[in-house]
Symmetry: C2
């Protein structure tokens, strides 16, 4: 493979590769430049092996027709795997082929490193030469192709001490635990909605570690099997089943589990609409509600808190936090029971 020449003018956010509309950012753009015969300053060129398609996007493509065909069409049209119907992307696995000058100082990336991107495919310039396999069970597509990461684009080097599928499953929700570590205080009352799912379990584990033995950790999980998994980890003071869309039931369940104490922090990881008010009602005055769930409605959260007169801080979950990939992979190393559960489920 030939070394590509470097062009000046690379923007850390990738504005230089946006074709439609010119001058915009790559994520909202209709089309980006996926010509990699030259690179721009600050870029990393990746040889792409696998696309990890966003679950909602993959389901949509399966309904529409042949996902392999639709992926090829989307990338040809847009220069990126940005599903025009769901608006979502996914992440990719690949190997570093070339590193242009102008990268952030001290990152220590080397040609040949295996990496997973932590920014969405919806903003990542991508060229596909061939589709090798489609694996519907994991929404993965194996390809021959190339992609570019901008200077601002987060990625993780794949660790050598765990299976790649396990690492990928954890990296997919890498933002969860670091945000929990920031917001939970020792001895806090913490409630997690959707606590038996992937991000929910990481929230519970981090809340127990940060909150300590004096914390009261309550996991709400409607799926009986996921609730059993959660109980098996012995991290929660209580695990209860409740419909997250029923705010009155959520509040009652929480108060029953905490001997009447409202939550200092609630994390909502439940991927159903209409779970905003339950999270708000379970929270104490001046407490925090952190919405990780992408099904959250901005107006329902804002008007919900105002309507019940709750003076709480409402957060839009940010999937990016400094060091989030290392933080989350280290949890799998430090917590064998979580690792075993994730290997069983996602490995």
């Amino acid at each position: 493979m030939d070394e590509r020449p470097i062009a000046p003018g690379g923007d850390p956010y990738g504005i230089h590769r946006v074709k439609e509309p010119l001058g915009g950012l790559p994520q909202p753009a209709w089309r980006v430049d996926n010509g990699f015969s030259r690179l721009f300053e600050g870029e990393v060129l990746l040889g792409v092996e696998t696309l990890n398609i966003d679950a909602a996007s993959f389901t949509q493509m399966e309904k529409e027709g042949d996902p392999a065909h639709i992926v090829l069409r989307t990338v040809a049209d847009r220069g990126k795997q940005h599903n025009p119907i769901t608006g979502s992307g996914g992440m990719l696995l690949g190997r570093v082929l070339q590193i242009a000058p102008g990268r952030p100082a001290g990152e220590g990336l080397a040609v040949g490193d295996r990496v997973a991107t932590l920014v969405s495919l919806s903003l990542t310039p991508l060229r596909i030469d061939r589709i090798k396999a489609v694996r519907p069970a994991s929404a993965q597509v194996d390809v021959d192709g190339e992609a570019v990461l901008f200077a601002s684009g987060a990625y993780a080097r794949l660790p050598k001490d765990m299976p790649e599928r396990l690492a990928l499953a954890a990296l997919d929700v890498a933002g969860a635990a670091p945000q929990v570590a920031r917001l939970v205080k020792p001895g806090a009352v913490v409630v997690v909605l959707g606590a038996g799912g992937k991000s929910g379990i990481l929230c519970i584990a981090e809340a127990r570690r940060t909150g300590g033995p004096g914390a009261c950790i309550v996991g709400l999980e409607a799926n009986p099997r996921a609730a059993d998994d959660l109980r098996g980890l012995r991290l929660c003071d209580a695990v209860a089943a409740v419909d997250a869309r029923d705010p009155v039931a959520v509040r009652k369940t929480v108060l029953a589990a905490t001997a009447g104490r409202e939550a200092d922090v609630v994390f909502s990881c439940v991927n159903v609409p209409d779970a905003e008010l339950g999270a708000i009602l379970a929270t104490r005055d001046r407490g925090i509600v952190y919405f990780f769930a992408m099904s959250t409605s901005f107006t329902k959260a804002a008007l919900g808190a105002e309507g019940v007169g709750k003076d709480v801080d409402l957060f839009v979950g940010n999937g990016f936090a400094h060091g989030h990939a290392d933080h989350t992979l280290a949890m799998l190393r430090d917590m064998p029971a979580i690792r075993a559960l994730f290997e069983r489920r996602y490995g």
Copy 2:
């Protein structure tokens, strides 16, 4: 008017008056009980004088037909002025007719007090006996009727030292300034998007007061007249016109106005969609973006921050904060230039 008998079982959030679906909360409910021949514990009965309809709701009703007729139909169907198309309500002005036992301690409310509700009409049980006038310019409807406030329902006593229209205009955005006071530190770099609007001006004024003379306050406002009003207040270090939907332009404009410093806190008060990314890009690492605008998209904010790798705290604006009405009315008293501008605009 007769004293109404008091029934037990009043819930602070008003669950006891929800008819469809039973057991739910009044805001998401389709229909609430607006029979006021008896009151429940914790309720306040109000004689209603004016409905201040939410602007989006009033516009929708004007397009559909006669707002007076539609208001009567909605209240007959739902027991509350909860526009089924826009989902929004408004607030009301009235006088206290009766106070049931079981109210919060020490509130000092008295029969005869004139009050404005600070919770949405979309959750307030209301009966209309007669429509007296419709004032389209201010989206107000004068009525004879009655309403009930629950124990959790926020309200403000109307001050005697300023015109009611002025007080109402300020109370409508009472949540803004208190949140600014909590988040702005002395000497901070603060950016307000939509800074020339009603909530934007209150954010700017509070940011200057809390941030002090060493703070750098930047107001972005696309409307030339609103920008001139803002300049006239002499509270900003810079006032600039920019399209909030162009994230690259927003970032460039902010950096030009601050000599290259990113914002510690950005408040988004601009009521257009697609302003999320501009606010995020203008914010420093570990800074805060506070979204007051109801046009904010949860997913655009969450995916936007992740896509550009910005480790910032994203807040859903909460219109309720302790003491927010008193805080905001006091600003009008303490800041004669703001009061004069609001009287000219909304008085």
